[in-house]
């Protein structure tokens, strides 16, 4: 289990991580989501003991990373920044890491097989493609067969095959009961990979909930309605406290005359149907629009992208209790 408690990191006057608290549980893929510069990498580097937090603490199974005796046997990390000497072969890179942990060199060959780099194991790592470098990074992370994995933007720049490989690997590792924390700014990737999401923006926690929940509650759901009588339905919806917007035009080239389209927010689809039925308004279409994770994400992070400092309401609904307390301390 990974735990961050009230983590804060300042670089000079810049606040990179702002009183961040969360835990990462084993047995599932936890997505660490946020726009570029939100503080994801810095948070991971603090968890891994590479950066010192300005205040707060991060622990792995209850211990700071620096106190782990053979850390690579407990935690595997794939950092976004490269950490391989371009003139050193893949085998020698893994070999020196294995030696620091007292692992046999046979483990190096196992890892090279796992990631499919055996044929190029003695080639200089500087000549590797992005995908091969990423595979070498995964091999280094898996070297000590760790129960906890931290992957910083692992699919960045990978081809679809590589993306699929990483995705399946993460799911497989989580299904074995391991703790997997994976950061990304790619929302759609997280929607299909992560079971749980920690969303941050400008170093602050915006959401910490199951992925489905973030999608469902992170953004206001809307309902698509087609009716030949939009004005009456709009009145009914407005009276109920909802909001209806009529689409500019519904004409399309295929000849068939379509009824005007309304986008309704603030009332669930079922209630729209009931209102229409009670007033005998004909509906041609009634479709609940599920927000994508992308919408939810944009909504959650929209405040954090701006320079103004206001509370993000949908986000605070998703915050668990302790995090809210942490938030409350911000002056």
């Amino acid at each position: 289990m990974i735990e961050a408690r009230d983590l804060t990191k300042k670089f000079g006057a810049t606040l990179a991580v702002d009183h961040l608290s969360f835990t990462v549980q084993p047995g599932r893929v936890t997505g660490f989501l946020g726009p570029n510069g939100a503080g994801k990498s810095t948070t991971m580097r603090i968890i891994l003991g590479l950066d010192h937090p300005t205040s707060g603490s991060a622990t792995i199974n209850g211990k700071p990373y620096a106190e782990l005796t053979t850390p690579l046997r407990t935690v595997g990390a794939l950092l976004e920044a490269k950490s391989v000497h371009s003139g050193r072969s893949a085998r020698n890179h893994l070999l020196f890491l294995a030696q620091t942990q007292g692992l046999p060199s046979s483990r190096v060959d196992e890892m090279l097989d796992l990631v499919g780099l055996r044929p190029v194991a003695n080639k200089r790592a500087g000549g590797f493609s992005l995908g091969m470098s990423q595979r070498l990074g995964v091999a280094a992370a898996m070297l000590g067969d760790p129960q906890i994995l931290l992957l910083d933007e692992p699919v960045n720049g990978l081809d679809p095959e590589g993306v699929l490989w990483i995705r399946n690997l993460m799911k497989h590792l989580a299904s074995e009961g391991r703790t997997v924390l994976v950061s990304s700014h790619l929302m759609n990737e997280m929607a299909v990979t992560a079971d749980h999401l920690i969303v941050i923006g400008r170093g602050r926690l915006l959401a910490n909930a199951a992925t489905d929940e973030v999608i469902a509650r992170g953004s206001g759901q809307s309902v698509r309605v087609r009716t030949p009588d939009p004005d009456r339905l709009t009145k009914l919806i407005t009276a109920e406290g909802g909001h209806a917007v009529r689409a500019a035009t519904t004409a399309n080239g295929d000849g068939a005359e379509q009824a005007p389209l309304l986008t309704v927010t603030g009332i669930p689809a079922a209630r729209v149907g009931e209102l229409a039925a009670s007033a005998s308004v004909v509906l041609h279409e009634l479709t609940p629009q599920l927000a994508s994770l992308e919408d939810a994400f944009l909504e959650l992070t929209s405040d954090s992208l701006e320079f103004g400092h206001h509370e993000s309401e949908p986000a605070s609904q998703l915050l668990p209790e302790p995090a809210q307390a942490a938030d409350g301390r911000i002056r």
Partner: protein, 282 residues
């Protein structure tokens, strides 16, 4: 339940691993790092070939000049301290290779990002620097002693027509062994500056500037009494006294005192490097 079992399994694995992993493993890892990059091999090849080649060439040229009556002053130098005469050209060149290799051994960790992998593996950090210092110093000591002894015997053979020098003469063995020690400590000195500056170009410029520019400049202060003290206490100057047979009349420090001063400076820099390694974000 199964998680608890898995966790206790993990804990016992950790305990076993803690017993198995020691400083020896870290030294082995540092040895793997040093031997697996070409810059090490090239720097050492240049050091060995350059030092031996220049020693042979300049000894021969000078002896030839003396024999043909072109170098009276050089004859005096040669007779006063034949060991310095033999080794100074080779060391003067070889120390550049050692300085570059020492600085690069540390700075390439940063320029390539390997430092992150190293510190993830050894988050206490200081054992990484300690193991690197021990492995690097051992490697340089072994190679440097071989090179200075071979240089000495080449030079001894070349200057034999002019003067006979042997290891049994007073101060000769100490001076030859001392030349290897000087190069070893110089390598650590450069490595420590690499740990402080962390950038290859900056660290190499700083080391070379100190060794080749600042040190010789301080020699210009020798008309002042305090100037001789400053000059003698300067790291590489103090360290070089061990490579000479005799202590010069204006020399404040004895050979071993000088070497201790050089070692002290180097230790200070290593400690400063260790402190910053521990404190800074990697």
């Amino acid at each position: 339940m199964s998680t608890t079992a898995a966790r206790s399994q993990l804990a016992s694995d950790q305990a076993q691993a803690a017993q198995r992993v020691g400083f020896g493993h870290l030294m082995l890892a540092e040895w793997t790092k040093i031997r697996s990059v070409r810059s090490t091999v090239w720097s050492l090849a240049i050091f060995v070939i350059g030092t031996l080649g220049l020693t042979a060439l300049f000894c021969w040229l000078t002896v030839h000049a003396i024999q043909t009556g072109r170098a009276e002053r050089r004859t005096a130098d040669l007779l006063v301290d034949p060991v310095s005469f033999i080794l100074q050209t080779g060391i003067g060149f070889g120390q550049l290779a050692i300085c570059v290799l020492g600085a690069l051994t540390m700075t390439t960790e940063y320029s390539t990002g390997v430092i992150r992998a190293s510190l993830l593996a050894v988050p206490k950090r200081l054992p990484v620097l300690a193991a690197k210092c021990v492995v690097f110093a051992t490697l340089i000591f072994v190679i440097a002693e071989i090179v200075v002894f071979v240089s000495f015997f080449i030079g001894k053979a070349v200057i034999h027509p002019v003067v006979d020098v042997s290891l049994t003469q007073s101060g000769v063995a100490r001076a030859v062994i001392g030349a290897g020690l000087y190069l070893t400590v110089l390598g650590l000195f450069a490595l420590a500056i690499g740990a402080l500056i962390r950038h290859s170009a900056g660290a190499i410029a700083a080391v070379i500037g100190l060794v080749l520019v600042v040190g010789p400049l301080l020699g210009l202060l020798d008309s002042y009494d305090w100037g001789r003290h400053v000059h003698d206490w300067f790291p590489t100057q103090a360290g070089s006294y061990i490579t000479r047979i005799h202590q010069a009349s204006d020399q404040v420090l004895t050979p071993w005192q000088g070497f201790a001063v050089f070692g002290g400076w180097t230790a200070l820099l290593v400690i400063a490097g260790a402190y910053l390694l521990k404190r800074r974000d990697a």
